[in-house]
């Protein structure tokens, strides 16, 4: 029976990144993906003829350019298009737009407050400073503060030195930033509700916390430290939807000789004397490997696939308590024509960016209150985007694909499993909100895919539908992600590695967990990762 060098469980983008690097290093790698397609939370699927949906993730910024280059993804079809700003609609019929042009952006804010307009630069400066600190950590394995291996000490020193280079004022600012709520943070700069509501979004996306919960300022950073072609903080559309990222990865992987099997649902990880030996599929087939890597989240991997009796108690305890709470849903909609927003002047560029309908932080927080009570938000926060305003490949001419990311949406409805009726009612809440600002929106709908945490978990395997494979709060970052002592992609089972977003530096279509995991595996195999670029300089 064939034995692969590496069996990869899951064909999400991180699994594919790891697989690509390992295959390029000369190993024989097989990717086992339970779905009939690859991509995990980064896919594009045609569910109604002529329309391609970015089913889960929908915008690209975090994906590391070093990886795109190393794995030759442009050659395999990846193109990321930068887009401009967006707008939040206010209940009085106005909107606050965000523009790329610095002075237009200031004038737009000045419509609401001259002070806030002039405060934006200081805000952006402070956030950028924090990003510049974090960015170089993305493409490095976090040090293990409990090991006294020279490498860990060296990495700890690196961290300490970076921190030590700070002035006391900067150090204080950083510690505050990591622990503050996004609402408190914004209050220090801005006075206008709508300005704060607009900027707060990045602090709560994908997170089961409200804008007033401590720790959400850091989540903002996570959404700010990406880039499009060197423009830090910018976001773009992957041409052809987010599936373009993973189809390019799959193509690159296959081009270097790798094997992908879709429809291969792994039900167990085989071990022999504490060492992983392969994966068992739903039909009982065994796929043998010298090493096994799991792209599934940490809960799925250790609570569902590995025999729990083979795992240390404290480790299991930590895995069980790793916070992975679903908080988001998604509507993917095929529209007959471009929606109209009477509040926007005709020809406004805003329609090509993020559109929101939540104009105060209080409304967001109330939405979170509903989540705590086990209900989807009656007045949800929606991040609506129309990629087809810039990407001609996703819908027939004149028609549009609309992606609506929705928060908050609980993993269970008042303690019960989601029903189809719940799902439809959830969708209706969202459509109603959009229709309030876009008359005729409902009539334009040709097809719609509604995804609550139930659908996201069932399809992508994200436990509870948590989009980041575990929340990005500071207690679950760096050497605490996912479990202290196991933050270096290795696990208590010899020969079993994890490479998904549950690991450092976390979620989003970033690829860094997958790349770092490949580096550690190659290190264990004493293979020089010569084909792996180190992180771009932050100067």
């Amino acid at each position: 029976m064939k034995k692969y060098d590496v069996v990869m469980i899951g064909g999400g983008h991180n699994g594919l990144v790891t697989a690509c690097y390992l295959q390029r290093a000369g190993l024989d790698v097989i990717v086992l993906e339970k779905n009939a397609w690859v991509g995990g939370a980064a896919t594009s699927r045609e569910l109604t003829p002529g329309f391609l949906y970015s089913n889960c993730s929908y915008v690209c910024s975090l994906f590391r350019p070093e990886i795109m280059r190393d794995l030759e993804l442009p050659k395999h079809g990846l193109q990321v298009i930068s887009y401009e700003g967006g707008a939040v609609f206010t209940r009085d019929g106005d909107y606050l737009a965000s523009y790329r042009d610095h002075d237009s952006h200031r004038r737009e804010f000045a419509r609401f407050s001259k002070r806030d307009a002039e405060a934006y630069d200081r805000y952006a400066r402070d956030v950028t400073r924090q990003c510049r600190f974090i960015q170089p950590l993305l493409m490095r394995t976090a040090p293990d503060p409990f090991s006294f291996k020279p490498r860990d000490l060296q990495e700890l020193l690196y961290l300490a030195k970076k921190f030590g280079d700070f002035s006391p004022a900067e150090m204080a600012a950083t510690l505050r930033f990591w622990t503050m709520s996004i609402s408190d943070f914004l209050d220090e700069y801005f006075e206008t509700d709508v300005v704060k509501a607009y900027l707060a979004l990045s602090g709560i996306i994908g997170t089961a916390l409200g804008p007033m919960s401590p720790g959400t300022a850091y989540v903002l950073l996570h959404h700010y430290m990406g880039e499009v072609d060197g423009s830090v903080g910018a976001w773009g559309y992957a041409r052809g939807g987010m599936g373009a990222v993973t189809s390019a990865l799959a193509s690159s992987f296959k081009a270097s000789g790798g094997t992908i099997r879709t429809g291969a649902d792994v039900t167990g990880i085989m071990t022999h004397r504490g060492k992983a030996t392969g994966a068992v599929l739903a039909d009982g087939e065994e796929v043998l490997g010298k090493l096994v890597v799991s792209n599934a989240d940490v809960k799925r991997t250790f609570l569902k696939l590995v025999d729990e009796s083979a795992l240390p108690e404290r480790f299991l305890h930590r895995v069980r308590h790793f916070k992975m709470r679903g908080s988001s849903g998604k509507l993917n909609i095929a529209l007959d024509s471009l929606p109209e927003f009477p509040a926007l002047p005709s020809g406004s560029s805003c329609i090509r960016g993020d559109l929101h309908f939540t104009d105060t932080i209080e409304r967001m927080e109330k939405g979170y209150d509903d989540w705590k009570a086990g209900r989807w938000s009656a007045d949800p926060f929606v991040d609506m985007m129309i990629p087809t305003t810039l990407d001609p490949t996703m819908a027939p001419p004149g028609k549009h694909f609309v992606s609506c990311f929705v928060q908050y949406c609980p993993p269970k409805v008042e303690g019960n499993d989601w029903t189809d009726a719940d799902r439809d009612a959830f969708a209706e809440t969202v459509i109603k909100q959009i229709s309030d600002y876009s008359p005729g929106f409902r009539e334009r709908i040709l097809h719609m895919e509604v995804r609550t945490p139930r659908e996201i978990e069932q399809e992508v395997g994200l436990t509870e539908g948590n989009i980041f494979q575990g929340e990005l709060t500071f207690d679950q970052l760096l050497f605490n992600r996912p479990v202290p002592g196991y933050a270096q992609y290795r696990t208590p089972v010899r020969g079993l590695y994890i490479c998904g977003s549950s690991t450092h530096p976390g979620g989003g279509v970033m690829g860094a967990p997958g790349r770092n995991a490949a580096a550690e595996i190659l290190r264990d195999l004493r293979h020089a990762p010569s084909h792996m670029s180190s992180a771009h300089d932050v100067i």
């Binding site: 106005d94 737009e108 001259k114």
Partner: protein, 406 residues
């Protein structure tokens, strides 16, 4: 008063003109032969109007009109205005008489310079602060506990600089009677159309010159009045490139060109104390408490100042823009932030930021490495540099009162 929502909506259309036109734009556009525009704080501003070389000589030989409307302007009024500004800025505002202007700077709590600018005392409790960057949140936050009203009036006030040896003659010809009594850094109001214009004897060229401030709606008639009078005195409209040459000769610094303002700096080590950018002479340790005072004085007594801004004279005639400065030709000690061949001084001059003690106690044996691109090949030159006082040129006519007519 318009309802707030209605006001906000009326302003939505700003995005249709992402580059605003200053109140003088119509005239500049009509005169522009080169059509070389850039964005100055979101306004269309000319690099040049007809010929940078000749525009420069208009400043130095006849007179030049330079539109400074995009300069950021704040109005500070109220019973505590002087006390407030004294706490805000490093120079003593109590010494700034009514109808006087002074150059000043303001700092954050760490003594790092937020900006430099000019402060106009229009009346006992009415001031105008002009600067390069925007500071409304800082100004408002600093106003806690003071009875002051602060407003941003950049768009409402048109401003134009009239500089050069015939500047006074032009004003006189335009009928601004009494302008001859203005001493340097003095201002007065003069009737214009159905209102008035504030004229100060200030400028950014080191030459005889004035700056005129008027409500935006009076801009064109003011321009026309000057232009009509200027015909016989060689008055020309100029762009920034010519002005920049004159300001380097005068040794003036530009925020976020010759130093990085504290609120803009992404790298904490780019922030500068006043003494590190040649503004030590503004700081008045005798006056009541002002923001940044303790940090500045501490750095002085503990001798922890890290940088110094100096004027350099460089051998040869190749401008050293962006050049690295070395000590003994080997040790890197700083950077040239602005440099030109000075037509007036006939010297190769530069402004540079150096790491102390170089440029402060160690001034010998400094060199600059100039990379001069000539027909797709870099000529690498290592040239000796001498620390010299700024301004690089000093003109008697700048301060002569009454001023000369040419």
């Amino acid at each position: 008063m318009m309802h707030l929502t209605a006001f906000n909506r009326a302003e939505q259309g700003h995005i249709l003109t992402p580059r605003l036109e200053t109140p003088f734009h119509e005239r500049l556009a009509a005169l522009s032969e080169t059509n070389e525009w850039y964005s100055w704080a979101g306004y269309k501003a000319p690099h040049s109007i007809f010929d940078t070389e000749l525009e420069y000589f208009a400043i130095r030989s006849t007179s030049a009109l330079f539109d400074i409307s995009p300069m950021v302007k704040y109005r500070i009024r109220g019973a505590d205005a002087a006390r407030y500004l004294n706490r805000l800025t490093v120079r003593d505002v109590a010494k700034l008489g009514i109808g006087r202007v002074h150059y000043t700077a303001w700092c954050d709590d760490h003594g790092h310079v937020l900006d430099d600018g000019t402060l106009f005392r229009l009346a006992e409790d009415d001031f105008r602060l002009c600067c390069q960057e925007r500071h409304l949140p800082w100004l408002l936050d600093s106003a806690d506990g003071f009875s002051v009203e602060i407003s941003e009036e950049t768009a409402e006030i048109a401003a134009v600089a009239l500089q050069g040896p015939t500047a006074f003659a032009v004003l006189e010809g335009a009928g601004f009677a009494g302008v001859e009594t203005l001493k340097p850094f003095q201002l007065a109001e003069f009737p214009h159309a159905d209102g008035s214009v504030t004229i100060s004897r200030t400028g950014f060229t080191g030459d005889l010159g004035y700056e005129l401030f008027a409500p935006a709606k009076a801009a064109l008639s003011l321009w026309d009045r000057l232009w009509a009078a200027g015909g016989g005195f060689g008055l020309k409209a100029i762009g920034y490139d010519a002005l920049n040459r004159a300001r380097i000769e005068a040794g003036f610094i530009v925020a976020n060109a010759d130093f990085i303002t504290a609120e803009a700096a992404l790298h904490a080590d780019r922030e500068r104390l006043p003494d590190e950018i040649g503004l030590d002479w503004l700081v008045d340790p005798q006056k009541p408490y002002f923001n940044g005072r303790d940090a500045i004085l501490k750095a002085r007594t503990k001798r922890t100042l890290k940088h110094v801004l100096v004027g350099l004279e460089i051998e040869g005639n190749i401008p050293a823009e962006g050049a690295i400065v070395y000590h003994r030709g080997k040790k890197e000690v700083g950077l040239v932030t602005a440099a030109i061949w000075s037509p007036l001084a006939k010297r190769n001059i530069a402004i540079a930021s150096l790491s102390r003690p170089f440029g402060a106690s160690v001034t010998d044996n400094l060199w600059v490495e100039i990379y001069a691109m000539r027909e797709l090949q870099y000529q690498k030159l290592m040239k000796r540099a001498r620390v010299v006082p700024r301004p690089f040129v000093k003109l008697e006519r700048r301060s002569a009162t009454p001023p000369g007519r040419f």
